[in-house]
């Protein structure tokens, strides 16, 4: 299945702002979906859909900051550009602290917005790639047996086969067999690669 096309999600309560932003983003061939309220966006949002969020901070009901908080609570990592009105530095600071990658002050130049949006889409693609590889690594880790996990933990902690054998109370020969299974299940050829993929999966512990 080809990955879905990246989409710019515009959330702004002001109809003219929504329409004009869509018109501008669409003029450079970006896919846009716009929502009048944060709740509408949350109701429709599919985390599998790549893209970025262009958000107005001031909105009735759920504000832009509230929406950021809600997305964080749901574990949705969507690069967010916050649009602020005139002289709202404190609000912009709060938005960035809440995870916005950028904020733009109204009225803004088209080039500025388009650059930021493209940048946000790249960030999202990279983040998705990292997440995909992490998921992959975790999936592979999950196929290991309990004994193979123990061997893996000791090996990535820098222990030699003999040390692993004595720590687990088995023969070095057995350790070698487990180690070969780990390498093939994790689809890696070298110890370096094994460490990298285990790090990526976030599975390394300090002390076995």
């Amino acid at each position: 299945m080809p990955p879905p096309e990246p989409t710019v999600f515009v959330v702004d309560d002001d109809r003219a702002m929504r329409e004009s932003l869509s018109w501008l983003l669409d003029s450079v061939g970006l896919r846009v979906r716009s929502y009048a309220t944060a709740a509408d966006f949350l109701a429709e949002h599919d985390p599998a859909q790549p893209g970025c969020l262009v958000l107005d901070v001031r909105m009735p009901g759920m504000s832009g900051l509230d929406l950021q908080a809600e997305l964080a609570r749901r574990g949705v990592e969507l690069p967010t550009i916050v649009i602020t009105g005139h002289a709202e530095v404190s609000m912009a600071v709060r938005a960035v602290k809440a995870g916005a990658i950028d904020f733009i002050e109204k009225p803004f130049s088209d080039q500025l917005l388009l650059d930021r949006v493209r940048q946000a889409l790249e960030v999202d693609l990279e983040a998705r790639e990292v997440r995909r590889r992490r998921e992959d690594a975790r999936r592979r880790l999950a196929t290991l047996t309990a004994r193979e996990r123990e061997v893996l933990n000791l090996v990535v902690a820098g222990k030699a086969n003999k040390e692993v054998a004595s720590a687990l109370g088995v023969s070095p020969k057995t350790v070698e067999v487990h180690r070969a299974h780990v390498m093939s299940k994790m689809c890696v050829d070298s110890l370096a690669e094994l460490i990298r993929i285990t790090l990526l999966a976030g599975e390394i512990r300090e002390n076995p």
Binding site: W23, R58, F108
Partner: protein, 437 residues
């Protein structure tokens, strides 16, 4: 402003004027008596004793009346004092004439006296009629005692004619005095109004200053939309992938947004324009909506729900629309500030309008804020009293002066369990009931 009686002129002022003029009259009378006293030794050397006794009595009464007229409590008191003086002078003069067998001086003196009170004292027709009666009786007595009834035939006619003249003079003097007082009262009223207009204008400027950031955002919104529409169009035109009709639709959107920005500026300009008091028939509901245009920017920013519960029928009032909008905006923004401590409770300001049973229309602004502490309740409408860190303490006093200048009332109550409710009652415009029926 001085106390005003029902006749429409300031009563204490007119009494003071009457007393002041009466004192002038008494001084003139004293001068006349002094002149006679100087002449008497030459003209009636044999009768000096009784003549001086009469004069001494009149002088004593005059000085007594000076005391009364220095500070008369009521108009009746002042009028009575003057009539007493007239009676004493008239009887004294008639008696002196009888004593000296002089029938010519008394009528002349008393006609001069009655013309004097008529022109000097702005006291109207009835006191002057009393003066004429006293004078006529005294002149008749004087003439009858000296010449007998046979000689009196022409005298009553002369007295009646002079009475008409002096009563008319008294009437004219009083009328011109009233007219002057009315003009002065109107001028005072006008000055008070202009003062109120200036204060209200200053308060509007201050209100608008407090909302400047929100309004700037509100103008920024259409400007941003215009920029985005324009740059999106420019890109399409450069790439040659847009036709006339599609572009036309977007150009219409530009125009709409520019008009929207202009409309916001118009509202601001109307709100702060300094102008004369202009009362006209307006719908209270429409005034609420106009005020809410300003308030909703801030409500959105603060995350406060602004709810309207307006009467379904138009509520006609005869008011200065901008000033009433100012009051509504002020009460709504007070409501916002009462809820600025965010403690998670629902935050709502509601505006209700309805027509009362008593020919008044009512407006209530409720909030769900901290309410009004007992200690503060009594001082809410005092100028320069404020509970806000950066407040001027003018909002509520100015609001009250505006509503009272329109013949209305402002009061405050608790809003159920939480918050405050500010009530306004304004007289309904005349003719509304008939139109509604």
């Amino acid at each position: 402003m001085p106390e005003v009686d029902t006749a429409g002129h300031p009563s204490s002022e007119s009494v003071a004027l009457l007393a002041q003029r009466a004192r002038v009259g008494l001084w003139l009378s004293l001068t006349a008596m002094a002149l006679f006293a100087l002449v008497d030794p030459f003209v009636h050397p044999g009768l000096l004793g009784p003549l001086y006794a009469f004069k001494a009595f009149m002088v004593a009464v005059t000085f007594g009346l000076f005391r009364v007229l220095r500070r008369p409590a009521t108009r009746l008191q002042a009028v009575t004092a003057v009539l007493l003086a007239v009676a004493v002078f008239s009887v004294g003069s008639a008696a002196s004439g009888i004593l000296t067998n002089d029938a010519a001086t008394t009528p002349v003196l008393l006609v001069v006296l009655s013309m004097g009170t008529a022109t000097l004292l702005p006291w109207g027709v009835y006191p002057q009629l009393a003066v004429q009666a006293i004078v006529i009786v005294c002149v008749m007595w004087n003439q009858w005692a000296i010449q007998g009834s046979a000689e009196l035939s022409a005298l009553p006619l002369a007295l009646i004619i002079s009475s008409f003249a002096s009563v008319y003079a008294a009437h004219a003097a009083e009328r011109s005095q009233r007219e002057r007082e009315r003009v002065e009262a109107a001028e005072r009223e006008l000055r008070a109004r202009q003062h109120q207009v200036s204060i209200a204008h200053a308060a509007r400027l201050s209100t608008l200053g407090g909302m400047a950031a929100g309004l700037a955002h509100e103008i920024n919104q259409p400007l941003s939309a215009i920029v985005a529409y324009a740059s999106g169009s420019a890109r399409r035109i450069r790439d040659g992938d847009i036709g006339g009709p599609a572009l036309l639709e977007v150009v219409d959107s530009f125009a709409d947004e520019a008009l929207r920005a202009g409309e916001i500026l118009r509202r601001i300009r109307d709100f702060v324009r300094h102008r004369e008091v202009a009362r006209s028939r307006a719908d209270l509901n429409a005034l609420v909506r106009e005020a809410v245009h300003f308030a909703e920017v801030e409500a959105r920013e603060l995350g406060i729900a602004l709810r309207l519960a307006l009467a379904p029928e138009p509520l006609a009032v005869e008011v200065d629309g901008i000033q009433v909008e100012q009051v509504i905006l002020n009460l709504v923004r007070n409501g916002f500030e009462a809820m600025s401590d965010d403690d998670g409770a629902p935050r709502e300001v509601s505006i209700e309008t309805r027509s009362g049973d008593d020919g008044a229309v009512q407006l209530v602004v409720r909030d769900t804020g901290i309410g009004i502490p007992q200690a503060v309740a009594g001082r809410l409408f005092e100028p320069f009293f404020t509970t806000k860190r950066d407040g001027l303490g003018l909002g509520l006093p100015v609001s009250r002066s505006i509503i009272e200048a329109h013949g209305g009332l402002v009061w405050v109550s608790q809003n159920g369990a939480r918050g405050a409710a500010f009530h306004i009652a304004l007289p309904a415009a005349r003719g509304t009931r008939d139109a509604a029926a």
